[in-house]
């Protein structure tokens, strides 16, 4: 957009006045969306007896943290939390690098092979890996990847690459080629060009990728239950789901566990919100 057009848009936005009916409607909608979360929080402070004898909407008699303590214990929180954090952080880090370089190479090199690569990776988005559970496990144990930390990270990268490449290639058009070309004339290798020139410009894209992959991996159930079933390697989501099935009678603890597991991701989102919104903007426009 030219400077003039940008100005016009800003003007448009600043002179828009909200319709009070719309404001009220959105408040109602937002309240309805938050309500279930409030209910979970409410439950998480109740005792088992309060659960059965009082109304579900009643506030707990006291803010007792028993359920949180129990959740910590039953979920083996020190181990599972750290595991989940580690797997997510490492996987996301590697994905950010890999998807970035892969997408950039695909976007810049016109060779047929790279076009094939693009389609090859995109197809992966459609593959429902839940249904491939046995072959994925077979491959894993044949390559000695099961019940190891690097094995689960490997699988997270394998399943996350498709979407990452898709996202990053659509962002590549925002990186002006002129900068890269002048770098190449100066004698930079492809690798240096990427890391010193291109990468800094990809910040919103990276932020978007990081958030989206982070919460998918954090919340993943199937791969984690397949690959890291040993107690010391377990993840938070797998531990929580056992609270829903085998110990389903204990759902006040389950509620506390939910609160504990959602908080970190919510915090991550709120801190990276600015970049994330910016990132989605570009994606939505360029498509």
């Amino acid at each position: 957009m030219t400077g003039k057009k940008k100005e016009k848009l800003r003007e448009e936005v600043s002179t828009k006045k909200g319709n009070p009916a719309v404001q009220a409607a959105m408040t109602l909608v937002a309240a309805m969306y938050i309500f279930p979360l409030f209910v979970i929080g409410n439950y998480s402070f109740k005792t088992k007896k309060e659960l059965y004898l009082e109304s579900p909407l009643a506030l707990p008699k006291s803010l007792n943290l028993d359920n949180y303590v129990k959740a910590f214990d039953k979920l083996n929180m020190q181990t599972t939390f750290i595991n989940t954090l580690a797997y997510t952080a490492v996987s996301v880090f590697v994905l950010a690098i890999l998807c970035g370089v892969t997408a950039w190479a695909i976007a810049r090199c016109k060779h047929k092979f790279f076009k094939f690569c693009y389609v090859y990776f995109i197809v992966g988005i459609l593959i429902p890996y839940q249904a491939l559970f046995l072959p994925i496990y077979t491959i894993g144990y044949k390559l000695n990847l099961t019940n190891t930390r690097y094995g689960i990270v490997f699988m997270y990268i394998a399943t996350g690459i498709s979407f990452g490449v898709f996202l990053m290639t659509s962002f590549m058009s925002t990186v002006p080629i002129e900068l890269e070309e002048s770098a190449r004339i100066d004698g930079c290798s492809v690798y240096r060009t990427y890391f010193t020139i291109v990468l800094p410009l990809l910040k919103p894209a990276m932020a978007t990728l990081i958030i989206m992959q982070a919460f998918q991996i954090w919340n993943d159930y199937l791969l984690a239950s397949l690959y890291v079933s040993k107690k010391q390697l377990k993840t938070l989501t797998v531990a929580i789901s056992s609270l829903f099935s085998a110990q389903s009678s204990d759902y006040t603890t389950a509620m506390a566990a939910i609160v504990i597991s959602v908080l970190p991701i919510a915090i991550l989102f709120m801190s990276l919100q600015k970049y994330f919104i910016k990132g989605m903007t570009v994606g939505a426009v360029k498509g």
Binding site: Y52, L226, S245, A246, S249
Partner: protein, 416 residues
């Protein structure tokens, strides 16, 4: 002379080092992998077992993987059959019939089996070899509110007419006759097998084999249909929202006096007593067509070991602890509220239904449901049939459809 001396010395040194090695091996830390398929009441016993093991054999550590028996035990077993089974597997008695024929389970040593009751061996023995150590047992039947029955002068029903009389009496008092939580399809499957034990398998203990041979079918068998139809009897006389009601909520309502009876099993005891330690309940077998139904007994936690384990000694030591540590056993029975399958060990928790159980035991009116579960397996068959029954009760399928669907999956009715 010198040579002889050298040889003797060498022999002594060799045997000394052998003894030293075995002694060292005893102290060497061993880690055994355990896959435990647990139900609602069992979660937590792994810590008790770890404690007891640590006292006697501190060098043996158990690496637990606890999963939900209903949904995840079979997938996990399938996974491990590809890569190598864990040393110890804890499942249910019916698992032996599924996995032993694959040749992957080891026989359990006689010295450990002898510590258990004879009833523990019957249905985990194939061709004379026993592959599972049954640790505890559940009773299944109709749990009833004893105080309510006494207050109203209701007698334990033996026939369908007796049962209907109680149902009518409940309705007059605006009490829901049956508590049920049909949102859990497994509960429908479970009660259906209870019904089949007393109307189908009591007359023909090989009904499943005949079914697979094409001699009988659900569509032709009046007895099998009766068993399915009891589900409707319950559905018509239970909570309106049974398809939305979860197990603990269902049990809570019963404890609070809103329902009189619940067709269930010992797993409900933990819930009942958690909500009200003084709840006075009893158990009776669901009446059948011939008025002679027996109380159902289910060997539950069963310990199996891998035929290809590298640490058979350590495994045996674990079996030893489990079969000889009476304090551990009582702790587990009290926690899970189940019956003992070890000789000379009885739980100490107050079980109001115990007097009913003892009565039926003394009259020899108890039957082992493993027979039914081996004849018609749970996973892929009973479980799927239950879904069709649920669809029929919801009005989405006709009764004939449900029967036909059960017949159509005859190939899945056996694990082999």
């Amino acid at each position: 002379m010198n040579k002889k001396m050298w040889y003797t010395l060498a022999a002594c040194a060799a045997s000394a080092s052998m003894i030293g090695m075995t002694a060292a091996a005893e102290e060497e830390p061993v880690t055994l992998t355990v896959l435990a398929g647990q139900s609602t009441t069992d979660a937590g016993i792994e810590d008790m077992i770890d404690e007891a093991l640590a006292e006697k054999y501190p060098n043996i550590t158990l690496e637990w993987e606890c999963v939900d028996w209903g949904n995840d035990f079979q997938p996990k077993m399938q996974q491990y059959m590809q890569s190598g089974l864990p040393d110890i597997m804890i499942g249910k008695a019916q698992d032996v019939a599924t996995y032993a024929p694959q040749g992957i389970l080891a026989e359990i040593g006689a010295e450990y089996l002898d510590a258990g009751l004879d009833a523990a061996r019957e249905n985990v023995t194939i061709d004379g070899k026993t592959y599972g150590l049954v640790y505890n047992a559940l009773y299944q039947g109709v749990y009833y509110n004893r105080d309510m029955f006494e207050e109203n002068g209701w007698e334990i029903p033996k026939t369908q007419e007796d049962l209907q009389a109680i149902i009518d009496a409940c309705k007059e008092k605006e009490i829901t006759p049956f508590a049920s939580h049909m949102v859990d399809t497994w509960s429908i499957g479970n009660v259906t097998m209870q019904f089949m034990m007393n109307d189908v398998f009591n007359k023909d203990s090989e009904w499943g084999d005949k079914f697979r041979a094409g001699e009988v079918s659900f569509s032709d068998s009046a007895e099998a249909q009766t068993a399915y139809e009891y589900n409707k009897l319950i559905f018509d006389n239970t909570y309106e929202d049974t398809f939305s009601l979860e197990q603990t909520d269902c049990d809570a309502k019963m404890v609070l006096g809103e329902a009189a009876m619940k067709v269930s099993g010992s797993w409900s005891i933990q819930n009942f007593l958690d909500i009200d330690e003084n709840f006075n309940f009893g158990i009776f077998p669901f009446p059948n067509q011939t008025g002679d139904s027996k109380l159902i007994f289910e060997p539950n936690i069963t310990i199996m070991t891998s035929a290809s384990t590298e640490h058979q000694d350590a495994v045996n030591k674990v079996l030893e602890v489990l079969t000889t540590d009476k304090d551990l056993a009582v702790e587990i029975y009290d926690y899970t509220k189940t019956a003992s399958m070890l000789k000379d060990v009885t739980p100490t928790f107050a079980n109001p239904s115990q007097e009913d159980i003892d009565k039926y035991a003394s009259e020899n009116m108890i039957v082992d449901v493993t027979l039914g579960n081996n004849q018609l397996v749970w996973g892929g068959f009973q479980e799927e049939n239950a879904k069709d029954i649920a669809a029929w009760l919801q009005g989405d399928a006709s009764f004939e459809d449900a029967l036909a669907a059960s017949d159509a999956r005859v190939d899945a009715s056996s694990a082999n």
